[in-house]
């Protein structure tokens, strides 16, 4: 689209800008403020400069949590994106079945995150959960509370269960926007199903996939409630991801300074990786 240069467009954008700035800038400044001070209580604060940052960046517990987080987000993206695209391709395009599909798929997305955690916490237990009991009957040893691998697996499956529909719904609406003529032309050109996917569907899905990838990356990187309710971060530290580590630090240990510094580092990591994704995926637009 050829955009017209017009600075008066700022008037249209102003409400959004003000609203978000109100919600974002002021709190952010508070955080920055805390991150460079040692706070004992409201009256005794000392400026410590970059001390907290140094401490936070050297903390081995944080390194571990960061590594775990990266592995987790990678797994999530590798499973959910292709699966979501696949599901969107199998969904019917119109009619009552399409509406039914949409509703069923939307259900996991609409459940408050603590309830999601609760559902799987129950589901996986051998005494009151269907999954746990079935696996026990089949003789498979499964204990998400005690075994780190099982815990990881359960948290991942829970995330896939919870969020794949988001990717699928986004891709589905993207697919619906492809005009029929493209499919007709492909039929005339004798293109195979795979060629149609590669040359027509996938390129047209690009903008939608960008939203999906970025949303899933950001949300999985910040994940807190679901794993917390399910495993509490355990066993041990096995499923303690970055958000939980931060909350422990801020709320549990009540170290506002390091927590604030860590918050900013956390935010910057997400910013950096998101920016990388964004640039990589929109790069192809220029020739």
């Amino acid at each position: 689209m050829n955009k017209v240069p017009n600075n008066k467009a700022w008037w249209l954008v102003l409400p959004v800008f003000l609203l978000v700035a109100f919600s974002a800038v002021m709190p952010m400044m508070t955080v920055v403020n805390y991150s460079v001070q040692d706070i004992f209580d409201q009256s005794s604060r000392y400026f410590v400069g970059a001390d907290w940052y140094r401490q936070v960046l050297r903390d081995p517990a944080l390194h571990d949590a960061l590594l775990r987080q990266f592995i987790y987000s990678t797994c999530v993206l590798l499973i959910e994106i292709p699966l979501g695209i696949g599901i969107a391709l199998t969904m019917p395009t119109k009619g009552r079945m399409a509406s039914v599909c949409l509703i069923v798929m939307a259900i996991p997305l609409l459940i408050p995150w603590n309830v999601v955690g609760t559902i799987w916490q129950i589901f996986g237990r051998a005494d009151i959960g269907l999954l746990g009991a079935t696996l026990a009957k089949l003789g498979v040893s499964y204990n998400y509370a005690g075994d780190p691998f099982d815990a990881w697996l359960t948290v991942l499956v829970m995330d896939v269960w919870h969020w794949t529909s988001l990717v699928a719904l986004l891709c589905y609406s993207g697919l619906r926007a492809i005009p029929d003529v493209y499919y007709q032309a492909a039929r005339i050109d004798r293109a195979s199903g795979w060629a149609v996917f590669r040359h027509i569907q996938l390129p047209k899905l690009k903008s939608v996939l960008l939203i999906a990838v970025m949303l899933r990356f950001m949300d999985s990187f910040m994940i807190y409630t679901e794993p917390f309710v399910l495993t509490g971060g355990g066993p041990g530290n096995a499923t303690t991801f970055l958000s939980q580590t931060l909350t422990r630090m801020a709320v549990g240990q009540f170290d506002l300074g390091p927590a604030a510094a860590f918050s900013l580092v956390y935010f910057l990591i997400i910013l950096l990786v998101s920016w990388l994704f964004y640039t990589a995926m929109t790069h192809g637009d220029k020739d």
Binding site: Q184, R187, I188, D189, R190, A191, S192, A195, D287
Partner: protein, 365 residues
């Protein structure tokens, strides 16, 4: 290459068509000869796109048959019929280069790479795309994209016919004529059956050897541009072709001809007999503005008429006259002197068409 025949073809989009109004295409019998350049001309909604999609196989007709070289192809897909179709909006594979776009149908056929290269090069030369072969398709202008779409149709050598569905719609007007010329050249070079759907009579007449004019789901006339102009078989053809369209005047029959207002028009014998034999119906005479003759003074067989308005359109003028209570348009070249106030009008019998219920009445053989 194929001869395409439509036998008792009709189409309705509704499951149980009840009345004539449910049909998009009424019963058609038609032959498109092999190697011809044809146009399907008509206003929006007349059924031309429906007909095109039935010929190409993108739509299965609800009644009747489509035959390629005598064989019914109703159940065959477009690829099985070897049809290439160019759509209104350029359809290109954005992520591929122009070369890959053109090569796509050939590679899908399994042709080996050297043959693909030669063929693509050949077509790219014909379409003036050789310079942009390496560019990504999405960066092309609209007319280049449309050329790529056409190219994909031309690149296959087993193509039985190429169908065009208003392909110049998105092209800038000053580039349209270039592409039209190109299409004509291609037709002369490759001699493939081409059917071109359009609502623009100029496009149709410059491209096609023969034009099928469609109206309300029927082909009302099939002929060369000249035939359509000089002998329109249907009032719609008279009205649609020509700029401005044909003058149509409601008349009543009388002893030796027809009459409107106070003007009596004699009819030749053969026509008079045919008219007497018809069982009534709506009578109209038509004459094209180009054939209305104007005289400065009284002339044998000319009627006095009042000049209402004159429009100067550069190379020609349109004179609006009042004759016998009816408004008529005449078209004059720029070198003709302009009448003032009153003029003398004659309507030469050879160009005067008589229509009964919109259909041309012709004298017997």
């Amino acid at each position: 290459m194929a001869e395409i025949r439509l036998r008792q073809l009709a189409h309705s989009y509704s499951r149980q068509p009840a009345t004539a109004a449910d049909y998009a295409l009424h019963e058609l019998e038609h032959v498109w000869e092999q190697g011809g350049a044809y146009a399907l001309l008509g206003p929006s909604g007349c059924g031309k796109s429906t007909l095109l999609n039935i010929i190409s196989g993108l739509l299965t007709p609800s009644h009747g048959q489509v035959l390629f070289d005598g064989k019914p192809v109703n159940d065959l897909t477009p690829q099985q019929r070897n049809i290439a179709q160019v759509f209104q909006f350029p359809v290109v594979y954005d992520t591929m280069t122009v070369f890959d776009n053109l090569a796509f149908p050939l590679r899908n056929q399994g042709l080996d790479e050297s043959k693909v290269r030669t063929r693509v090069q050949e077509i790219a030369e014909v379409l003036d795309l050789a310079a942009v072969l390496k560019k990504k398709a999405r960066n092309l202008s609209a007319d280049e994209k449309q050329k790529v779409s056409m190219g994909r149709g031309l690149v296959r050598d087993d193509v039985s016919a190429i169908l065009f569905d208003e392909p110049l719609t998105v092209i800038d007007p000053h580039l349209k004529w270039k592409l039209r010329r190109k299409l004509k050249q291609i037709h002369e070079q490759f001699n493939i059956t081409m059917i071109y759907v359009t609502h623009d009579q100029l496009e149709a007449s410059t491209f096609a050897d023969k034009i099928a004019v469609m109206h309300g789901g029927r082909i009302v006339q099939f002929g060369t541009p000249r035939e359509l102009f000089e002998r329109p078989r249907h009032t719609f053809v008279g009205y649609f072709i020509g700029s401005p369209g044909m003058n149509l005047i409601e008349v009543r029959a009388e002893a030796d001809g027809v009459v409107f207002g106070d003007i009596h028009l004699p009819l030749p014998d053969g026509l008079r007999e045919r008219l007497a034999a018809t069982a009534g119906g709506r009578l109209q005479v038509g004459i094209r503005p180009e054939f209305v003759q104007l005289w400065d003074g009284p002339f044998e067989g000319a009627y006095p008429a009042q000049v209402l308005d004159i429009e100067d359109l550069g190379t020609y003028r349109i004179v609006t006259l009042m004759l016998g209570g009816v408004s008529l348009k005449a078209r004059l070249g720029e070198d003709r002197p302009l009448p003032v106030g009153q003029a003398w009008v004659s309507l030469p019998a050879q160009w005067l068409m008589l229509y009964v219920d919109d259909v041309l009445l012709e004298a017997g053989p």
